[in-house]
Amino acid sequence: MSLPDAERLLADLAAQMRPHVTPETGLIGLHTGGAWLAERLHALLGVSVPLGTLDVSFHRDDYAQRGLARDARASSIPFDVGGRPLILVDDVLHTGRTVRAALNELFDYGRPTRVELAVLIDRGGRQLPIAPTYCAARLELADNERVKLATDDGVLSLRLVQE
């Protein structure tokens, strides 16, 4: 299967988001791929609020089964989320469980006025009632396939991984 070009998807996603980004809007990327993507969107959209990142390792619902992730990092939200519209950014939307964990963590920082979700790829397979607000592409993938985002000096690319 040929994957779409990540840079083209990025431009498309930025175009969808642009009319809705206000001077108050905060962008929050989900580690790791979502953080790379959010960094590019932050620059492309000229967002003035500093970029936030979330690592949802401490909020995952499979902690009891799988234990703590090895590479857990500190989340960093260098602005007040209270009273502000936010856009969560992730590379691939699949089951929706990562977004659920991110929403839980986010509200420990304060009460945003609105939270939207921007993803590069929606691959289906949702296990929770979660939908993207902005989405650049929809892909049909087999259960054992995963799309992974990679970055090379900020330039994004996609690759298919068989598990």
Binding site: R73, A74, S75
Partner: protein, 322 residues
């Protein structure tokens, strides 16, 4: 070779009993895991849901308000329910054995025991008992046993050193004071050796040194000035008055004269050397106030890091059991 009683069959942390024999990658993973926990305190809600619904029992057979409090804060920041049992004033006074106490608390659905005991090996005994009776979903953390070990203190000390000095393999570290009675010193020595500190020194009067230090890879000094020369890290120990039996020392004043850390003596260490102390401090006995409050002291950061390190240990123990 016998299995390390702290690790499960997958080599993951099952109990934390001592830093002795703890593999380097496990120590490093605890330190790495602690790092993101340090920033939780800066959020509006200072809590993470990892231990939600779990019951942590602080079993303190020996009093220690500070250690108990930091474990309590760590467990609460992870959303656990914390039950404090001050057993020195409780059932054991009525004749109950240690393991009967443990069985009773296990029957109350305990998920984790944090144990402080005056007898070396008590936490190990509890861990062994839980395993032998098929209750390996219950985890034990040693919060200090006799003269044996105080692993979370040792780990928070190495966390503090890593925070300021980054690379262990270039460091000169001196541990100063009552090594003989100190479970903290033992836990520090094992952790620092495992992490590859090339120059580890212990400085103490002969009466406060155990006999086995060469085996642990330490250089022994009986002169504070000589021992401090050129070190990157000075780890002070508390003079444990309550553990002194007989006359190991002439007087606190004389101890201060020879082994108390003053600015003048600290000047012999590297200019950017840091000073640690596990607390509570005896000012004017093992450490001078000018040093304790000086810019090289990292004693209060140690307390803050201690909460993150204890959170990391608890989070690593409690996950992945299903």
């Amino acid at each position: 070779m016998a299995r390390n009683p702290q690790l499960n069959k997958h080599g993951e942390l099952q109990h934390l009993l001592t830093t002795e024999g703890l593999p380097r990658d496990v120590i490093t993973r605890i330190l790495d895991t602690a790092e993101p926990f340090t920033v939780v305190a800066e959020r509006e809600v200072k809590k993470l849901p990892l231990l939600r619904g779990k019951s942590v029992f602080n079993l303190f057979f020996e009093n220690s308000t500070r250690t108990r409090t930091t474990f309590e804060i760590a467990a609460k920041r992870l959303s656990a329910d914390v039950i404090n049992l001050n057993i020195s004033t409780s059932s054991t006074n009525k004749g109950e054995t240690l393991l009967d106490t443990v069985d009773n608390l296990a029957a109350m659905q305990a998920d984790m025991f944090v144990v402080r005991h005056a007898s070396s090996g008590a936490p190990y005994l509890i861990a062994q008992h839980l395993e032998a009776t098929g209750r390996d979903h219950i985890h034990v953390i040693n919060a200090g046993d006799g003269r044996h070990a105080h692993p979370t203190q040792g780990l928070l000390d190495v966390y503090t050193i890593r925070h300021y000095k980054r690379d262990f393999t270039q460091l000169s570290v001196a541990i100063v004071g009552d090594i003989l009675h100190s479970r903290v010193a033992r836990s520090q020595i094992h952790a620092l050796t495992t992490l590859g500190v090339p120059d580890l020194r212990v400085i103490a009067p002969k009466t406060l040194l155990p006999g086995d230090l060469d085996r642990l890879g330490c250089r022994v000094f009986h002169d504070l000035k000589e021992g401090l020369r050129g070190v990157d890290v000075v780890m002070m120990l508390r003079l444990q008055n309550e553990r002194m039996q007989g006359s190991l020392l002439p007087s606190p004043q004389e101890y201060f004269k020879f082994f108390g850390l003053t600015e003048e003596k600290l000047a012999l260490a590297k200019p950017d050397a840091i000073v640690l102390h596990p607390g509570p401090m005896n000012r004017g006995v093992e450490i001078d106030s000018a040093v304790a409050d000086g810019h090289q002291a990292v004693i209060l950061p140690q307390v803050t890091f201690g909460i993150a390190v204890r959170m990391a240990v608890m989070a690593m123990l409690a996950g992945g059991n299903a």
